[in-house]
């Protein structure tokens, strides 16, 4: 016993354990491998900075969406409505800015506020009426999709204020449009909150053991409420970036981000900090999927393959991560 105790204490920072270290960076390694394969196949068209800067910018909304998902997920609630919130936010921008000529600054504030309202409505039903989050957010998804179609007459609204377009894709840093840096900033902020603040600990405990958290003086309902509102605001921000990238408001395509973003949230939980939903992992996962999809598309592979890639990568990664842990129960779910 004394001998095992001492080895355990020396072996502490558990991350130093080689197997665990590999688990942490496995997805990054696979990502680099994927880039190498596509690079070998298409050295000119794939392996140039321009291509990557497009990937980084055009998947920034998906990255923000994945972040919007993991906040309530860590607190134990599913938010399926983030895709519809993204669409709602960009549709609002189109309608208010283009049709009603409101100044773009005000419109952006309103779009973010709409996201907060969606979060509050979700929270109201989930927390105060105790309806399962999956049901509520599935409902609000359909609800918002309908409202967006009514608002926009089901048409794409072009001609959004150029200031927004410039702020999102007009400027570049190291050749990468600003859009990417907004997502990156959100990752840094969330990463900080998750890992370096008591709020992050509270979020985690609320998700893993509600009763335990409550008996330790944590205002469980307030934490869940906050997480759902944060999710709504982040999804609305994703909508703003999406409107900026497109330069228009599209009432339909936003929902297409939902599945990849969820896939990325779970895929990300197998990397960087395996076993936890974590912002860094989620964003690595988004860009891993983005690289795969872009590469396959450039190879001229038919569209259905990208869906197979999305789903296959998710299932494979989660399975491998589970296998490395043996029969130890999964932390997630």
């Amino acid at each position: 016993m004394t001998e095992t105790v001492s080895t355990m204490t020396q072996a502490r920072p558990a991350g130093l354990h080689l197997g665990r270290l590999f688990e942490r960076i496995a997805l990054l390694v696979v990502w680099v491998g994927l880039i190498a394969i596509f690079g070998a196949l298409m050295p000119q068209s794939f392996l140039n900075w321009g291509n990557f800067s497009i990937i980084f910018a055009s998947y920034a909304p998906a990255a923000l969406l994945a972040l919007a998902i993991i906040v309530p997920l860590t607190a134990g609630d599913y938010d399926l409505s983030v895709g519809a919130t993204l669409t709602l936010s960009s549709a609002l921008i189109g309608v208010l800015n283009v049709w009603h000529h409101l100044p773009i600054g005000l419109v952006l504030v309103l779009a973010l506020a709409a996201g907060a309202v969606v979060g509050a409505v979700n929270a109201l039903f989930i927390i105060f009426f105790r309806i399962p989050s999956l049901v509520v957010t599935l409902g609000t998804t359909s609800l918002m999709t309908g409202i967006v179609q009514w608002m926009t007459n089901s048409s794409t609204i072009g001609g959004i204020d150029n200031a927004l377009v410039m702020a999102v894709v007009g400027g570049r840093l190291f050749g990468v449009p600003y859009a990417f840096y907004y997502a990156a900033a959100a990752v840094v902020v969330l990463g900080y909150v998750f890992d370096y603040t008591p709020l992050g600990r509270r979020l985690l405990f609320v998700g893993r053991g509600r009763e335990v958290a409550r008996l330790n003086g944590i205002a469980v309902d307030r934490v869940r409420f906050g997480a759902l509102i944060a999710s709504g605001v982040l999804a609305a921000a994703a909508g703003i970036v999406y409107a900026g990238v497109l330069g228009s408001a599209d009432p339909y395509s936003g929902l297409n981000f939902l599945l990849p973003a969820f896939a990325a949230a779970f895929l990300g939980a197998t990397t960087i900090l395996p076993g936890r939903f974590n912002p860094w992992g989620a964003v690595v996962a988004v860009y891993f999927l983005a690289t795969g999809i872009t590469g396959l598309t450039m190879l001229g592979i038919p569209l259905w393959v990208t869906n197979v890639f999305n789903g296959g990568a998710l299932i494979l990664a989660v399975t491998i991560s589970q296998l490395t842990r043996g029969r130890e129960a999964s932390d997630i779910g």
């Binding site: 016993m1 095992t4 105790v5 080895t7 355990m8 204490t9 072996a11 502490r12 920072p13 558990a14 890992d195 370096y196 603040t197 008591p198 992050g200 600990r201 509270r202 985690l204 405990f205 893993r208 053991g209 009763e211 335990v212 958290a213 409550r214 008996l215 330790n216 003086g217 944590i218 205002a219 076993g275 029969r327 129960a329 932390d331």
Partner: protein
């Protein structure tokens, strides 16, 4: 040396029974990461035998049980024979059912979100051949099984709405039902494994359990019984196997062993028997907290006073309401009425009480339901330890992880958590060690009033002594303690005063020389007559 038939051909220990053993294991080892939980354990269980499996926290008892359940795969090289039939290791899922084993795991192994019926008839519902479920017959079978144990739980109730006592009873009933069915099917003796089934059971529950154990042993089946309560073990078992640090420390025949010998074999050294330290006539302590008219759940309006530096015990029979008291005072469960008056003049109506408020007032609560309400299994020890005071480690906008781990390590050393690795998940600790982590969490905060519900559940004899000493030292320094427990020995050991509850009211107070294990147990039984009932009443009480 008697030549004992042993399917795996090893020399059996002298004094081992002559019949073909029901269970015969040899050289079972298990390594978790780099840590050895079991290092080659061999023993056998004869038909009709009640076999005690003892050992300190973390000695590998539960690990052995989980290997037999096919939950853990043992290291290569172990052998297992059941009723003379060699069985390949690791066991496949369902093997245990085919062989005729059933379990009450330390965490009970119930599905909280399913109903009593679904949990009880789990095996039958999921494996029935007919492909059709006759719910009426299932309900009748479930009711009959519960009835045999004198339980009247609604079969449609969700398990997470049951009290810890009812949950423990349900798991026990299920194990005995499964073994009855299995024996009828195979015609061979079966084996029931009970991993610490008693911490939540009040005395009459333990007696019922012992009745069931005896009746199952009389039919030729065997029972493995794990407990830290040496008196229980001495009462019910025929033989005892003791593990220490994952290895066999020895075997005893219960009838020929004394309490002291068993304790010595477990701990590896001689310790004084957990005797009552001769209570003097009660010295009245100045009041710290006056609780007036607290009512909620099964508890009718009750007044009581907790002295400063006093350790006050509350106990009684199931359903008598004493177990609600810590939760009501802490604001963890809804209160119908009542108020708290602190010595410093603070007046708090209990309707306005919440766990947050209670913490701010310097109260602390260690709930009895370790996995559901006390700690989060899937998170590291360090986070569990400092859950209520993470804010303390937040400086200059950063959570000081290193300071947290350092302090957790120091606390772990003080409370003998093994292995003492703060980064490890709570689930990787043995049951007793996890409990130590959670006790350390609250003791470290130095609360003014510590509320405890079954604080030493699953904690081994040696550590119990240490926890008691820590409690006494803290009380001497001015901390008040309110301890709800059905364990009379524990109450006699630590308390200055014990209140006995019946029908939601205080019916007796014990202090001074009467404060002994037997004195408390007697008073509990006398409370039945006092209130003129023979069975625990349904918690329907007018306030």
């Amino acid at each position: 040396m008697s030549d004992v038939p042993s399917a795996i051909g090893r020399v059996a220990e002298p004094g081992a029974p002559r019949a073909l053993p029901v269970l015969d294991v040899a050289d079972i080892a298990k390594t978790f990461g780099g840590a050895k939980a079991l290092r080659g354990v061999s023993f056998s269980v004869a038909p009709g035998e009640v076999h005690g499996l003892l050992g300190k926290n973390g000695s590998g008892k539960s690990t052995l049980v989980k290997i037999l359940a096919g939950f853990h795969a043992p290291d290569h090289g172990g052998r297992l024979a059941f009723n003379g039939e060699m069985v390949d290791l690791p066991l496949k899922p369902g093997d245990f059912r085919r062989l005729g084993m059933s379990f009450v795991h330390q965490n009970l192994g119930l599905v909280p979100s399913l109903t009593v019926l679904e949990n009880l008839r789990f095996a039958h519902l999921t494996t029935a051949r007919s492909g059709y479920i006759d719910w009426r017959a299932e309900r009748a079978a479930a009711r009959e099984a519960l009835g045999r144990f004198g339980l009247s739980i609604d079969t449609a109730e969700r398990v997470d709405r049951l009290s810890p006592v009812e949950r423990a009873l349900l798991a026990i009933v299920r194990a005995f039902e499964e073994i009855r069915v299995a024996c009828a099917a195979t015609g061979k003796p079966g084996l029931v494994l009970l991993d610490e089934p008693t911490p939540f059971l009040p005395r009459e529950g333990v007696e019922k359990l012992f009745g069931l154990i005896r009746s199952i042993a009389a039919t030729g089946s065997s029972v493995i019984f794990i407990s830290h309560d040496i008196d229980e073990v001495m009462t019910i078992t025929d033989r005892i196997t003791v593990l220490r640090d994952g290895a066999l420390a020895g075997a005893l025949e219960t009838a020929k062993a004394t309490h002291e010998e068993v304790v010595e074999m477990i701990v590896g050294r001689r310790i004084a028997r957990l005797g009552t330290p001769g209570h003097q006539a009660a010295v009245a302590k100045p009041a710290f907290l006056r609780v007036s008219g607290v009512a909620g759940g099964a508890l009718a309006a009750t007044d009581l006073v907790v002295g400063k530096g006093e350790i006050l015990g509350v106990t009684g029979l199931i359903g008598s309401g004493y177990e609600e008291l810590p939760y009501l005072i802490f604001g963890a469960r809804p209160c119908r009425a009542g108020a708290l008056d602190f010595v410093d003049g603070a007046h708090v109506p209990l309707a306005a009480m919440s766990p947050k408020r209670a913490l701010d007032l310097g109260l602390a609560l260690l709930p009895g339901d370790r996995q559901g309400a006390s700690g989060v299994d899937s998170l590291p020890i360090v986070d569990n330890m400092f859950l209520p005071d993470v804010d303390r480690f937040f400086r200059f906008g950063l959570l000081n992880r290193r300071a947290m781990v350092r302090e957790a390590f120091a606390l772990g050393t003080r409370y003998e958590v093994r292995p003492n690795d703060p980064a490890m998940k709570l689930s990787a600790l043995s049951g007793g060690n996890a409990q130590k982590v959670l006790i350390a969490r609250w003791m470290n905060r130095n609360p003014r009033l510590l509320l405890l519900d079954e604080p030493t559940q699953g904690v081994d004899v040696g550590t119990r002594v240490q926890i008691f000493a820590a409690l006494r030292a803290a009380a001497a320094a001015g901390m008040s303690v309110l301890c709800a427990s059905s364990d009379a020995e524990q109450l006699a050991e630590i308390c200055d005063r014990v209140l006995i509850f019946a029908r939601g009211r205080v019916c007796a107070e014990i202090t001074g020389p009467d404060l002994t294990k037997d004195g408390i147990a007697e008073a509990c039984y006398a409370s039945i007559d006092l209130t003129g009932r023979t069975a625990p009443a349904a918690p329907a009480l007018a306030s």
